[in-house]
Symmetry: C2
Subunit: 329 residues, 2 copies
Amino acid sequence: MIIDSHAHIVMPQESYKYFTELVGGRGNPSGDPKIPDASIRASGEALLKIMDSVGTDIQLISPRPYLQLHSLKPAIVSELWNRHVNDVIYRLVEMFPDRFRGVAGLPQHRHECPSVRVVSELERCVKELGFVGCLINPDPTEGDELPPPGLGDPFWHPLYEKMVELDVPALIHSAGSCQPRESYTLKFINEESTAVISLLTSDTFDRFPALKIVIPHGGGAIPYQMGRFRAWNVRKGEEQSFDEKLKKLHFDTCNYSKEALEFLFKVVGTDNVLFGTEKPGTGSARDPVSGRDFDHLKPVIEEIDWLTEEQRRNLFECNCCSLYNLNLK
Amino acid sequence: MIIDSHAHIVMPQESYKYFTELVGGRGNPSGDPKIPDASIRASGEALLKIMDSVGTDIQLISPRPYLQLHSLKPAIVSELWNRHVNDVIYRLVEMFPDRFRGVAGLPQHRHECPSVRVVSELERCVKELGFVGCLINPDPTEGDELPPPGLGDPFWHPLYEKMVELDVPALIHSAGSCQPRESYTLKFINEESTAVISLLTSDTFDRFPALKIVIPHGGGAIPYQMGRFRAWNVRKGEEQSFDEKLKKLHFDTCNYSKEALEFLFKVVGTDNVLFGTEKPGTGSARDPVSGRDFDHLKPVIEEIDWLTEEQRRNLFECNCCSLYNLNLK
């Protein structure tokens, strides 16, 4: 079974009207979003067509990060919007229960502590909507202000407590970027590197040993920059090596080059890596070298000849099932 | 010949007293820095001992980035300090002319346009002190404010104009970090990734085709994240591939893992990569796996068995001589 652990929804057309009114009304839209079943079905069928074309059985589907808009003011705008997106995901999963599982977007807002607003939406999504995980945006200011403290800071503990209580993982995924110097797609990468170092140089996993964190896109810069952090770790006299510390985290394969994926598997192993493609998304363009879309990663992993069958199965299916407690028929 | 293109000075003890008075006096120190020749010599001999122990013939030596302190207020503090550091580097190079070449630190300050203050110090260093290049810090706020525009923005053109006029390269190297979420050593990496993308998605090299830019530490995250930017490039309908665009930049080997260096050479080739170790620095700690210091990179490169002798010679010597116009006896 091929489980794509990293996929984002394509919203139905009606949602954009709701969003526009929500922003225009500063959180007081002229009415509730009315999304007909037919629109959800059309959105789902378009996704299924893509999934079938690349052999994906199931997608863990979350809000599209750059459209989460965590920095929009007032906070109620992003709260209502993210709630709406979660509701659409829920309906999609209900409609195609064999093909999708929901991953929640959270109504984070700039420097607001991720306690009441965020925690209650996570709880709703997991307990009422059956979602299996959530996204965390490490910089909900989206680069419009100096960011909140790093993910290793107690600022984030209320959210971690709830995640552990509900036993759901988080995919660390920044959203938009208000800084022209750092496009949102580049900010993903920089925020991932920052997340890894902030978490691993803090006491987060001592306090929350059951916390489940996935660093997508192959782990930002870190696997490639391991030497730098191995050296720092030795200089600081740490008992545990940096390579050992890294095993507290999970990664995904949403990195669109074969050489980089081979590198990832060699540096962090295959036990903590989940198959993920973010298709359709950034990588949905034809690679003139391979003749395939950049995000068509199943054959790329199949072609890495030194992986065993067991390792491939873990990457494609078992690691994800185990981390997300997936109950698949 | 082994040329380490990326090395930072260890300042003589007396300089720290000067710095402290400079900061305390808010740019009005109680007197000029008095650094005896013996102190410069001691500093230089300590460096030579390290260089000899690892087989380095010549270092291109610049200010230690995290001690450049570009965000200290008022701007005159960082101006006088960076000028002082350049003067010490000059004296070191004069004392050991066969072993060092000077690379200038610039008195950048927060959001100040790098024109008068910065350009005049670069000109002094190159024309009067014989320096061969400079550092550029892409974020002179050091994370204390939102950063200035990316390196692809016209904000930086006055500096690029002067660099081209003087025909000197810049090593892109951020300095400190005021954000606990992003240590200075991690900020180096993130700023390098940001620099690459900002430069290559701008018209900088059309306007300044002779501009020489070195992205250190193996290029931040970019070589590992190539797939993402290759895909973006295709989606934007660009004529030139991202791999081709990358050839406008130079990189260095100051990345402390063999697997990453092999990866770098495979992705960007060896014609645009300069040997660099930043020794002594972050990598000066014993790697328990190799039994060598992380930053002892000469044997690492010698052990990469698929490199030709010519490629190794280019990496160790020729690429650097050519880029920096080194006139070595």
